[in-house]
């Protein structure tokens, strides 16, 4: 077993999840099964392979340009309302579970 109940509790904490007792034991079983399968990646020697975070760099529109220069078309002026207007406050709050008309309302953060 690679992943223990303690690991699951630690990772759940990082992910802002709580998980019930039954969920935790199910998660121990599932993560071990999936990670066991994933371990086959270790059969590959990748010591001289560059990591790939995204695909756009492999088909840069202009291969003669380097790095971020390839993506100059994606730059825009650093101005307020550069691409679209910000949402009006009223609209931005419409989907909030709890709002007071000006702010999102949440339980008290600072104890004193």
């Amino acid at each position: 077993m690679k992943v223990t109940e303690k690991d699951v509790a630690y990772v759940a904490d990082l992910a802002n999840l709580e998980l019930t007792g039954a969920e935790r034991s199910g998660m121990v079983r599932d993560l071990n099964s999936i990670l066991g399968y994933i371990d086959r990646l270790n059969e590959l020697d990748t010591s001289n392979v560059a990591p790939m975070a995204q695909v756009s760099d492999r088909y840069g529109v202009d291969q003669s340009k380097r790095g971020s220069e390839r993506f100059e078309y994606a730059y825009r002026e650093d101005v307020v309302e550069g691409l679209r207007k910000s949402l009006p406050q009223e609209t931005a709050l419409e989907n909030a579970p709890d709002a007071d008309g000006t702010f999102f309302r949440v339980p008290k953060v600072i104890e004193r």
């Binding site: 999840l17 998660m27 990670l35 990591p51 695909v55 088909y59 679209r84 909030a96 999102f104």
Partner: protein, 477 residues
């Protein structure tokens, strides 16, 4: 004229020539939804008011004798992971059960600007995580060909809606096969474009480096028409590519004779169902009789695609789904006393089992001490998988494979075994990792009358060639 049996061009022409109206088209398809969807469950939300307003605009344009745009009056459905202004968008999750977006996804806006009439939002696996549509927080979707079977996932609602003639075309999203696999299971055409070909603006993010929007349609030509409509640079998505959009529809008529098609043994090995193998091999024979040359190619890292995918996709998902905090627009648990308790209980109560599993796996892979062993390792193997394709495409114009190792499976068959479910994506995930385009086109049926799909993979930004091949096969079959 049966209004629910038309292609995009036939529907648009009929409205243009006043043989029918956009309103009648919308009503005929709503009647079909009313009749069929109780059993199938393809839709989560209908937006009749918005649809009928759009239909009326189209009908007025036609009445004035003005030319209709490419999708003028065509009833469509949108997977519920694409934001639609004023129309509830849930991503199949309880977390967004009551979410009403304040803006439109670019792909949806482009469909409507081209005259499409959006009838509603389609069911999907929660946050597009699944291969069977059983992970929807609301209800599963059933395969219109056999109601005891799944429609595939995660765009199962979109595939089923097209297959059951409830719409003429639909948009889906593909992160590991979620357009192509359900298209294959339901017997329709599904196209995943090149990464960056279609803007992701307004698409609820699952794994940002892998998410693609694309069409599900009844014919290859319809897929070409929809792609031409939604493709192209969008300043609102910095990863949308600045590459010209060719006329995919005109390109369908170019000859396929002389094209070189790669066949990789890695896609025909253990686990491939015999009936699927036979159907795909005879489809490839058909392409050969049309003048294509079949060339053996090797994609040696293919067996490592699923483990790579399930690290990268879950790592990105764990980060993307951090936004569901119960503060701004997602579900909030009742009776919480502290901020931390609010985050935890809101997420605990609103996410389904598969979403939690993937957040946990992704968080684990990114956590201190495991980052190099899992996430960085997977990113390096992603390079190897992409190089496999780059080398193969040095020799061939396209690669032909099965879309899925089996036809549609039974509801409940794999739902208790996450790993077995992940393996349903074995032939589709690699294209997502490499960012290349792929199409699934129907290529026959099993003895039980279940559809089988032929997958054609292409070079970056070369949707034209795979559409042309799929079209030639479809016309000849």
């Amino acid at each position: 004229m049966d209004l629910t049996q038309l292609t995009i061009d036939a529907a648009r022409s009929a409205v243009q020539e006043r043989k029918t109206t956009a309103l009648a088209l919308a009503e005929a398809h709503y009647a079909r939804i009313q009749k069929e969807d109780g059993e199938i469950g393809a839709f989560l939300t209908l937006c009749k008011e918005r649809a009928l307003e759009q239909a009326d605009r189209i009908d007025r344009t036609a009445a004035e004798g003005k030319p209709l745009p490419a999708l003028g009056g065509v009833p469509v459905a949108i997977k519920d992971v694409m934001s639609t202004r004023g129309v509830r968008t849930t991503a199949g999750s309880k977390s967004l059960e009551h979410y009403i977006p304040p803006y439109d996804c670019t792909a949806v806006a482009r469909m409507e600007a081209a005259g499409a009439v959006m009838l509603g939002k389609t069911n999907c696996d929660e946050f597009a995580m699944g291969s069977s549509n059983e992970n929807s927080a609301f209800h599963p979707v059933r395969n219109p060909r056999d109601l005891s079977r799944v429609p595939g996932g995660s765009s199962g609602g979109s595939a089923a809606a097209v297959a059951a003639d409830m719409v003429i075309a639909a948009l889906g999203s593909d992160t590991g096969g979620s357009i192509r696999q359900p298209a294959s299971f339901c017997g329709v055409v599904g196209l995943m474009p090149t990464y960056g070909r279609v803007s992701r603006y307004g698409l609820i993010a699952f794994a940002s480096s892998l998410d693609h929007i694309g069409p599900l349609t009844k014919t290859v030509k319809d897929a070409a028409i929809v792609l031409r409509t939604i493709a192209g640079r969008d300043p609102m998505d910095s990863t949308s590519a600045d590459v010209p959009v060719p006329d995919y529809v005109a390109d369908l008529e170019k000859p396929v004779r002389g094209l070189k098609l790669g066949m990789a043994k890695e896609y025909f090995g253990e686990g491939l169902d015999d009936e699927v193998r036979q159907a795909v091999e005879s489809a490839i024979d058909k392409l050969k009789t049309l003048g294509c040359e079949i060339v053996p190619v090797s994609l040696p890292h293919t067996p490592f695609a699923i483990p790579t995918y399930y690290i990268i996709a879950t790592a990105e998902a764990s980060s993307n789904l951090a936004r569901y905090d119960g503060v701004r627009y997602s579900y909030r648990a009742a009776g919480v006393k502290s901020l931390s308790e609010m985050y935890r209980r809101s997420r605990d109560e609103s996410f389904g089992a598969e979403v939690k599993r993937r957040i946990m796996l992704g968080t684990y892979a990114l956590s201190a001490g495991y980052y190099d062993a899992y996430y960085l390792k997977a990113q390096k193997v992603r390079t190897l998988l992409t190089r496999d394709f780059e080398e193969a495409f040095g020799k061939v114009d396209a690669i032909v494979t099965p879309t899925s190792p089996t036809a549609a499976f039974q509801l409940g068959e794999k739902s208790n075994d996450p790993l077995a479910m992940y393996l349903a994506d074995i032939y589709t995930v690699t294209a997502d990792l490499a960012g290349i385009p792929g199409i699934s086109v129907p290529c026959g049926e099993t003895r039980e009358k279940l559809p089988i799909g032929l997958q054609i993979l292409g070079k970056h930004f070369d949707e034209s060639t795979i559409l042309r091949l799929a079209h030639a096969y479809e016309q000849a079959a």
